[in-house]
């Protein structure tokens, strides 16, 4: 059984945070949680979507964007994040890139029981790299995204937000109009 948090998380709330924090480019690779957000981002004129074929490339592309004075957001799934540890280390942490990662938390359940090792290792992975993170489960949590942006700018380090709403409707088209 999956526990719910009440309101759920709407892509519109995420997009509002992205706009509020001046994101110029979303470097991304699709995951099972973000298609609803993709539809909204594609229609947002202030954003340029930059699709990559491997999450490791997201970190180096974001570093180039940041060196060039832009504000990238990295939108990936936890599986791909774990696949790209060396790129995260070299291109984001070592170059002091103040970038926010928005990470689809595949397998997340509030009660902690999951059969998905992608979820089991997500926070352990972030802790191993010393990356702070904030859990986003509902619209009430969305302002933590701004907290992550502020922290990234202040510390010159990547900061993660974990989107833990896979089973609650975040990916449903009707959720975009919440």
């Amino acid at each position: 059984m999956t526990q719910t948090t009440g309101t759920g998380l709407s892509p519109a709330a995420i997009l509002a945070e992205i706009r509020k924090n001046g994101v110029t480019h979303v470097v991304w690779l699709p995951d099972s949680e973000t298609n609803g957000l993709y539809v909204l981002m594609k229609a947002e004129p202030s954003l340029r979507l930059v699709p990559v074929t491997n999450e490791a490339l997201a970190f180096s592309a974001a570093a180039g964007l940041s060196f060039g004075g832009r504000v990238p957001l990295i939108l990936i799934q936890n599986t791909g994040m774990m696949d790209s540890g060396n790129s995260l280390r070299g291109w984001a942490i070592d170059l002091s890139i103040p970038v926010v990662l928005m990470v689809g938390y595949r397998g997340w359940t509030r009660h902690g029981v999951t059969r998905d090792s992608a979820a089991v290792y997500t926070e352990r992975f972030l802790n191993a790299f010393g990356i702070n993170y904030y859990l986003i489960e509902s619209d009430a949590d969305a302002e933590r995204i701004s907290t992550a942006f502020e922290e990234a700018q202040r510390t010159g380090r990547p900061v993660a937000t974990l989107i833990g709403d896979e089973y609650h409707g975040f990916n449903r088209p009707e959720a975009t109009s919440k």
Partner: protein, 198 residues
Amino acid sequence: MIEVAEMLKVFQQHRGDAIVVPGQAGRHWTMISTRPELDVPLIPYPAMGGGASFAFGLALAQPDRKVVVFDSEGALVMYLGILATVAEQQPKNFYHFLLDNECYATTGGQPVPNAKATRYDALARDVGYPSTFAYDRLESFANSVERMLSAPAPAFIALKVRAEIQNAPVADRRRWATRTREQVRDDLQEALKIAGGR
């Protein structure tokens, strides 16, 4: 085969005010370049395979200025998908040079998979780079460099270069970086007048 240093001397004459991400060619480029504030040599190197993607990000961020990257074939095949991303985004200011020495030179010269047979310019052309070139002689390169740097971008220039194999322990190798990575970033952002750059 082309000598990398000789090729860079030719390129320097046509570089203009392009941003240059020199990659492994940095050991030569830092002694040849006359615009170091627009060079982005990152030493220690952040992570193999990301140089083209980094330069591509710079090109998206600074669309009114040419961005040149000197990539290497071992790095490119590590994340070959960057070609598709570049082709999809079509940055009109991105010039992707590939220095193909057919081996992993910095680790002792072991061969890159399928080193002698892969035609990287053909890969780039077929994926959608509007301009692609390939040279294995310096004279041919020198005669064409102006044309390739004014060709519709993204452009891909594959160069067969002589391998400069390094086999000494890393600690014994010549240190060629003249600036820290932080200084490189700050110099670039100052030159580009990027406000509030870290």
